[in-house]
Amino acid sequence: MLLETRALTKRFGGLRAVNDFDICVAEGEIVGLIGPNGAGKSTVFNLITGVLPVTSGTITFQGKDITRRQPEQVAALGIGRTFQLNPLFHEFTVLENVTSSFQLHPYSSLFDIFFNTPKYRRNEAFIREKAYEILELVGLSKEADELAKNLAHGHQKMLGVARALATKPTLLLLDEPLAGMNPSEIQHSLDTIRGMRDNGITVLIVEHNMQILSLCDRVVVISFGEKICEGSPAEVRANSEVISAYFGADYVC
């Protein structure tokens, strides 16, 4: 297993935001984590990436225990992520957002950077080239010199993905990549995500837009912090518990 959580629990005061939650993601999969608003989906992401401290339970990535790692350490291990809101460096240009996200591969030491060594200059030239490639991939190459804050919402989301790709992730966590997008942007996003998987990146997606189901190999449904169902998209669609979680218990009959 690439990523595995066991009995993951997060309490905020008396509220169990995530309770005894198990999820595993195998290499090369696209896994969807869906559930109604407030179900604890984003909390799971924040626990995996070390943004929030775990109350109890364990998280392992590539066999390593990462339960208590800091966010930047988790990123260095190869877990990239996007954010639901505020996903950018707003004062940087689109290109700078991507080049600044290349911190890990290739890596320049403080010495190399400060003294502008040939190695650093080579790395920076390589990064610029790669950044343009990534922008091409997510369809933002025309906006490269715009300030990130001036981008339309859908484009900002795609830039968030571009930034995450710059960290060269093994596993990519996408937090509601479709929220606030129009239908053509949604189609483009779905194609991009599929393309990333074909390039060998494992993807875990949090979403409440059900259109994501078409993309996933496996879906985990979470409600009130607990896993209520897991299976193929078709199985999940047919599951009555899922329907009741989304639409209320009265809806099922």
Partner: protein, 345 residues
């Protein structure tokens, strides 16, 4: 009348959006300007040797470095109100071995800079958890604590009257002029590399969003501590040189008043520009001392009025105005410049 006022977007607004030239900017105009200024300053002692003007310029060179070191810390989003205390640590770390152990100033001055760096980094560690006003207030009181500890040092630190008899470096002021001038150039080169390289990109990323920065592997705490250590090295270095120049280490030179003036230089000069602190020192230190010495008591009022005018008319400070004018003359976009600088070559 219930007529609705229509607010239509100005058509020229759209036209004003920068049309970015795709070529690399030419940087020789700025470099030649800086070079010319450096040559003038290097030759100036021939004309003003031994005069009060030379004293003012020596102070100005030191304050350019100190104000720039504050700005180097600030690009990571930290508004540190203890920069005077870092100067003070540098000053006392050189003054105490100089006065009591009679060590050579050439040994104790580097010692002062290193002490300020170490203390700065150590103190930055707990403060790296604080942001915005909490960080500012926390460091403000940190500055108080440092100065109070220094004055509580008994005979060793000379208490509140200061520690006199610090060995001078030279007997001739001209040598101080060239020393501080040279140190300023080297320090500014270091700070230029710091800001316009991947290190500066990391700092600016942390300042904009520590969460996003962490998600791409830029650790907030590590980079903020690095920024403070880097800045306090130069503040400590200049604090140490200042103390040998004056022949005395006195706590009043490193208190809150000193810090506030340093920050004022930066705000007037332009906090978003690398040259802002230098411009601010030129306007608030050199010009009043050269031309308006009789009005020195009124400087706080003039400065406050100036800051208001600048805030309303040029939000980027004087440096922003310079940038605007220069942009018109040389016809190039600000953003291209920033980008070329950030690419580090």
């Amino acid at each position: 009348m219930s007529e609705v006022t229509k607010i239509s977007p100005a058509p020229e607004e759209a036209a004003r959006i920068e049309e970015a030239p795709k070529t690399r900017p030419r940087r020789w105009p700025r470099l030649s300007m800086v070079g010319a200024l450096a040559v003038v300053l290097a030759l100036l002692p021939l004309g003003i040797s031994g005069s009060y003007y030379m004293h003012v310029l020596i102070l100005a060179f030191m304050y350019v470095v100190i104000a720039s070191s504050w700005r180097a810390i600030s690009i990571s989003g930290q508004f540190n109100i203890a920069i005077g205390a870092f100067m003070g640590i540098g000053a006392y770390a050189t003054a105490i071995p100089s006065v009591w152990l009679h060590w050579s100033p050439w040994v104790t001055i580097p010692l002062g800079a290193v002490a300020a760096t170490i203390v700065g980094a150590a103190l930055a560690f707990p403060f790296a958890r604080l942001r915005t006003i909490y960080y500012a207030m926390g460091t403000l009181f940190l500055g108080y604590v440092v100065i109070n500890l220094i004055t509580a040092g008994g005979k060793t630190t000379g208490m509140s009257t200061g520690l006199g008899g610090v060995q001078p470096l030279f007997s001739d002021r001209t040598y101080y002029y060239y020393l501080t001038f040279g140190l300023m150039i080297v320090s500014m080169l270091c700070m230029y590399r710091f800001e316009f390289s991947r290190i500066g990109v990391r700092m600016k990323a942390v300042a904009q969003s520590h969460e996003v920065a962490a998600s791409v592997g830029i650790g907030e705490r590590r980079n903020r501590i690095l920024a403070v250590a880097f800045g306090s090295f130069f503040a400590g270095l200049m604090g140490a040189v200042y103390c040998h120049y004056q022949g005395v280490a006195s706590p009043s030179s490193y208190g809150l008043g000193a810090t506030l003036w340093i920050i004022m230089y930066i705000l007037v000069g332009g906090i978003n520009s690398f040259w802002g602190p230098a411009i601010g020192v030129g306007i608030l230190l050199i010009i009043p001392e050269f031309f308006f010495r009789d009005l020195k008591g009124d400087l706080p009022y003039v400065t406050a009025a100036m800051l208001l005018i600048i805030a309303f008319t040029m939000p980027e400070g004087i440096a922003g105005l310079v940038k605007l004018v220069r942009g018109r003359i040389f016809d190039r976009g600000r953003r291209e410049e920033v980008r070329a600088d950030a690419s580090g070559d």
